[in-house]
Symmetry: C2
Subunit: 122 residues, 2 copies
């Protein structure tokens, strides 16, 4: 798949919240995944498809999703951007939160090799 095809597939699968299918079919085994900040003192940068699968599991287990809006993709060369606007409740703390962020993805040989998540700071 070229960058645009991968990008559209990410939009399609995240709209369905099909996290495992996205990881299994679109991610390179050596994916580097970068959050704005690490949780609990961990590094914001995770390496490898198992780490990304772990993040997906954490999200699915932790969040009650009220709405999940996916916008995009924006595509050029080996890069694409998707915007996520979510309304979730953390099942542990019972805190409800609305978050907007973009994912900046890099594609190589038809697989996502890097993703960076940037929260709204407006």
């Amino acid at each position: 798949m070229n960058t645009e095809e991968v990008a559209k597939k990410v939009v399609e699968l995240t709209r369905k919240q099909a996290w495992h299918e996205a990881v299994d079919t679109l991610y390179d085994k050596d994916i580097v995944s970068v959050e704005a900040s690490g949780m609990g003192g961990q590094s914001p940068e995770k390496c490898g498809i198992e780490a990304v699968r772990g993040k997906a599991d954490w999200w699915i287990n932790t969040m009650q999703v009220h709405s999940f809006k996916v916008s995009g993709p924006f595509v050029a060369h080996d890069r694409f951007v998707v915007q996520y606007d979510v309304d979730v409740t953390d099942k542990n703390s019972n805190d409800r939160m609305q978050m907007s962020e973009v994912g900046v993805y890099t594609v190589k040989d038809g697989k996502i090799v890097r993703e960076e998540f940037l929260p709204f700071a407006g």
Copy 2:
């Protein structure tokens, strides 16, 4: 300025369409600026602040701007993203067009060293 300060300044100045002030105050002299495609067979990648100033001049001289919406910024580490939704008429062709794209910017030592523009492909 840190990444978030540069990002907010980009949003502030592009909302005012203050292109020259943005280039003069926020861009590194060795900026690399990448469009989705090059115009007239040119490379999509331009290097140096003079080339970026030339792009700003071209935009100002060519486009009649009906509306120019700036959303963001989204910020993490050395990277930020801004979304542009524009409605313009090309003064040469008289074609009116609505375009959405994001800019992905990289900051180093308080200056923008790289920008990539990704059009909406949804």
